[in-house]
Amino acid sequence: MFQTYRRGLFILSFLAAPVTLYLVYVISPYAQAFYIAMTDWRGVTATPNFIGFDNFIRLFSDGIFWKAVTHNAALLVLLPLLTIVIALFFAFLLNVGREGRGVAGVAGSKFYRVVFFFPQVLAVTVVAVLFQQVFRPDDSGMLNAPLMALGLGPFGFLSDPGLAFWSVLGVMVWQAVGFYVVLFSAGLASIPRDMFEAAQIDGAGRFSLFFRVTLPLLWDTVQVAWVYLGILALDVFAIVWVMTDQHGGPDFSTTVMATEIYRNAFQYFRFGYASALGVVMFFFTIGFAILSLRLSRRERIEY
């Protein structure tokens, strides 16, 4: 009995701090956010008026928010796709790419792996501000100077509504790839060499090696990557808010759900409405999480 008492006490004492912190700072605000979403809380100290689902009805005809949702959706598809493809390609080259005997990366893999990770080490607002300068619309811009020298007109990477979204995507991919190169490299490293060597002895060239051996064995890691990147695509805020014109423009061509929530809450002072937007975003994220969990129940290769 005493043992179980001691055990119970231990459990409680170890859980007290984390659970309390979590309840106070995470659960409680989320619960309140759902409540605030049903009020018209505009100012700050006035007591909120309960208005039921009005905010949600209003939300449905909010063209800007739905534009933001389409941007998140596009990022959700493109960001993981591009990042994983590029990262897998490089991870493969850096770990298995050397032709011939043995399984090793090409010459200089270590150097490449270190350098590729640089963008991850920079804080996200540093990346945003840096690229704001890189994308300058005249010959003082890092990209436009050589382009103009070649005779191609200056591009409004951030000021052309048709280009701005792709610039944002590009920057996100730029920052993310290095991390996944490392992740996939580790995944590759944990695959026993014999598998590769056996395939090579059987005459597999680099292509079939990649598609028939590497990829299936890495599938778990690729799935993890897909989920992380998906969440990143849904949650993105800093890059858009800091780097783009008009905080999600120009003309709302790069805005995402997170920026619209922030704008409505902290610039228009429409906290009720912003919380309603947040609730919608919450359901999207949960939906994505559930979907990924379902789809990830694939056969695992035992080795």
Binding site: A16, T20, I27, S61, P137, D138, D251, F269
Partner: protein, 469 residues
């Protein structure tokens, strides 16, 4: 596992005991309505101290650090305040992003005492007023002026300031500067090249064409990243064409206000400029970059307000000679004559009602509205003052001179609009749409339709407070 799931009753009870504690904690984590603190009550009033400023309390001042910098507060206003209240501790602060820094203070119920609410990130005055966060400055108007106790503050202040600062019948906002808007240019550049200031729109377009052909510089630009710099002349032109009611209707969210013919015509006119005569890369440049380009004689004209000269002080060549001209006549049948100007008080000073020292805030404003303070300020930052007589005997810079002359010529024909401070979403939509209009992304027809749609949405949204004038 050797551990069997032995949950003792005691253990469970203990866990259950935790729940209400956590619940209570969470309960006290809900947003509490902050009761106004008792310490905000005034001390004894007197003729010399009309608001009852308590000399024990500190005064927290926040200045927007933009075109005018913030040295004017520490060099002019605060020393003047201190001559009368040497014991009051003044905490001076400056920022370039008022909303980002101060909105949480309002949210938290402890805003500062005086705020210069200006700049691209200024707080939404409409929202603040709706929420009762702004001190009623009526007493300020009725108080004796700083210089002459027989004259009320109301009488020395430009009436436009009072009109502009009134929300729902209460005076809340003191605009400290009379911003005069127009098209700015370098008088030297025009003289050297033999260009003349256009009086009609056709002359303006011809001038643009001449400048473009000369190859010396681009004819026109605007702050591409902040398209409000362009919707300002656009709306002024609409008022010129259709009369002041155009802007009144827009402000009052009347049906069809934005899709009215004068607005559409103005949009079309400026779209043409956007298509043909813009400095390369305008869309991606901010205000300082375009204004500096003008200083470098890379572009001839741009729309701006009378803060321009001061903002560009460090990059303007000595002989640049800023000049300003009003929006040209669109046709000879314009409802408002040549010389009509868009003027409106800017650099909005407010006193939060829930600050710790609103009396000190009001007294600070009273000091700012003295002849000396207002005069020194306008000389320092090269602007036109809102205090009558403050500019007497002062040496005006070329830009300020040009603006003052234009103001005198305009006489009664001044227009303004207030929707920008009332409906932040409409402003954001106008910014987005105007950028597109100038880059050819939307047609003038679509442009006015977009804005009309947004205005209609706001009108129908019962959660947004509406104002009228």
């Amino acid at each position: 596992m050797a551990n069997t799931p032995h949950i003792t009753r005691r253990g469970l009870l203990r866990a259950a005991a935790l729940a209400p504690v956590a619940g209570a904690l969470a309960a006290c984590a809900t947003p509490q309505a902050q009761a106004p603190t008792a310490s905000a009550a005034p001390a004894a009033t007197s003729a010399a101290n009309p608001f009852g400023v308590d000399v024990e309390k500190p005064l927290e001042v926040w200045i927007f650090d933009g075109g005018f910098g913030n040295a004017y507060a520490t060099d002019i206003h605060q020393p003047l305040f201190k001559t009368k209240y040497p014991d009051v501790e003044i905490k001076h602060n400056a920022t370039k992003e008022i909303t980002k820094v101060l909105q949480p203070r309002f949210a938290g119920g402890n805003p500062p005492d005086v705020i210069d609410n200006s700049g691209a990130n200024a707080m939404d005055l409409g929202a603040l007023a709706q929420d009762g966060q702004l001190q009623d400055l009526g007493p300020l108007l009725e108080a004796p002026s700083w210089d002459d106790p027989d004259v009320k503050v109301r009488d020395i202040l430009d009436p436009a300031v009072i009109e502009f600062g009134t929300y729902d019948g209460k005076f809340h906002v003191v605009g400290y500067v009379n911003y005069i808007h127009g098209i700015w240019y370098s008088q030297k550049a025009f003289r050297d090249n033999g260009w003349t200031v256009p009086k009609t729109w056709d002359e303006f377009l011809a001038l643009c064409e001449t400048i473009k052909k000369s190859g010396k510089m681009a004819p026109f630009t605007y702050a591409g990243k902040h398209p409000q710099y362009l919707y300002e002349p656009l709306l002024t032109m609409a008022a010129k064409i259709g009369g002041n009611e155009v802007l009144v209707n827009i402000d009052n969210l009347e049906d069809g206000a934005w899709s009215a013919e004068p607005v559409r015509q103005a949009a079309e006119a400026w779209a043409e400029v956007g298509a043909k005569y813009l400095l390369q890369g305008t869309a991606g440049l901010d205000h300082v970059q375009t204004q500096t380009a003008q200083n470098k004689y890379d572009v001839a004209m741009l729309p701006c307000g009378s803060w321009l000269e001061n903002e560009q002080a460090t990059t303007t060549p000595d002989d640049f000679e800023y000049g300003m001209f009003p929006i040209p006549d669109f046709t000879s049948s314009d409802k408002m004559p040549y010389g009509t100007l868009h003027t409106q008080p800017g650099e909005s000073f407010i006193v939060p009602s829930r600050g710790a020292n609103p009396q000190g805030g009001m007294e600070y404003l009273r000091a700012m509205l003295s002849k000396k303070a207002a005069g020194d300020f306008s000389e320092l930052v090269r602007t036109v003052s809102v205090v009558k007589g403050a500019g007497e005997g002062r040496d005006l810079s070329p830009g300020a001179k040009s603006a003052t002359e234009a103001l005198a010529a305009a006489g009664e024909n001044t227009v303004y609009y207030r929707w920008r401070s009332w409906y932040a979403q409409l402003h954001d939509e106008a910014v987005a749409a105007t950028g597109q209009l100038m880059s050819g992304g939307v047609t003038p027809q679509k442009y006015v339709e977009r804005l009309q749609k947004k205005a209609d949405e706001i009108k129908a949204d019962s959660s947004i407070k509406k104002y009228r004038r």
